[in-house]
Symmetry: C2
């Protein structure tokens, strides 16, 4: 007789989900500086050893949280590249703006990149955190890159377009404004950005340069 089918997810996945949920709530309350990994264990009702075995530092845990938040953002391929990019990048921009404000009472004039910048610095400081961040983006960005590949294949983007470079132009603009120039990345900006990147592929300069 076959053993009874196992129901539900394995216990360790439940623990991971509880940990990430508790980490998210704590980060929103406290922000980066006052986020303590010990407190996450208590709230998630898991042993500290369980938590540390899985994520040795708060930065490792926060990278896992960001990965989960990214995975929650859908990448829809409706066949209209302008619409799909606008929806996706607006979700990215909204998530970044939310993340930069966590744990702070950020008014309109506050342009700090907050925890986004702290994670960028943690990735630069600790090679294994850096590897985790770069691995997360390589895995995650495969989705919008496939979207762009499809658009090129059906002729909605010029044949020579590199999906990677195009996505750098789009996501890069958002991160650059958030992390470097401090300019806002609201829905208006995202629309203008997608429009210029895509309309740029059809508009013609009146006096193109010989190259």
């Amino acid at each position: 007789m076959a053993p009874p089918a196992r129901r539900g997810r394995p216990r360790s996945e439940d623990a991971d989900a509880r940990i990430l949920q508790a980490a998210h709530a704590l980060l929103v309350e406290r922000g980066y500086d006052r986020f303590a990994i010990d407190e996450v264990a208590g709230r998630a009702a898991v042993a500290k050893t369980t938590l540390y075995r899985r994520w040795p530092t708060k930065d490792h845990l926060l990278v896992a949280l960001v990965a989960k938040l990214q995975d929650d953002v859908e990448v829809a391929d409706t066949g209209n590249i302008r619409h799909d990019l606008t929806v996706y990048l607006t979700a990215i921009a909204t998530g970044l703006d939310r993340m930069r404000r966590v744990g702070r009472d950020a008014g309109e004039t506050d342009r700090s990149a907050g925890v986004v910048a702290e994670l960028v610095a943690a990735a630069a400081r600790h090679p294994d955190v850096g590897d985790a961040v770069r691995g997360m983006f390589a895995r995650r960005n495969a989705l919008p890159l496939t979207l762009l590949d499809h658009a090129r294949a059906r002729g909605a983007l010029p044949a020579g377009t590199s999906s990677e470079v195009l996505f750098d132009q789009l996501a890069g603009a958002l991160y650059y404004r958030l992390l470097v120039t401090g300019r806002p990345i609201g829905a208006d900006y995202v629309e203008q950005l997608v429009d210029q990147v895509l309309t740029g592929t059809t508009a013609t300069p009146t006096h193109p340069e010989r190259t």
Copy 2:
């Protein structure tokens, strides 16, 4: 009789120049973590009080150093936008790559953003450092934005192009790769980026979407 013409720069500018030169040398030797502002005073032969009055923390001093290094990069307007952007962005990419390596023995597989990420985090953590960084970029980026304005005015870019958005696409891609995805930003990439951003303005999709 008129007083004799004053020769040379005022003493305080000389001190500033000596301080920034000493700061640069120390940063290259030590990297961000082991950079100590007290040591800069000694090397520049200025009183610590002089240094602290001008730049209260090491982050303030490093932002001033980055501003000076940026000002050393020429923005030439030869009338060929592709050439001028390629030269300028290659200089930016080279400077960023040099800066990310300072104070470390970074091999080919090391993708850390180094001190660039530390300064991004300092800007996010301290409002006055953030204001200094954002002010620096607003002032500095006015130069390439003017370059793009001129190109649009002579018809080398489509009339509706926003210089700000276009520069975000270019500089953003470089910072995004350096700080987030860890992908290289060598001369090959810069050329491909400028080419796609500009050729994008002349290439035509075979099946453009109705919008």
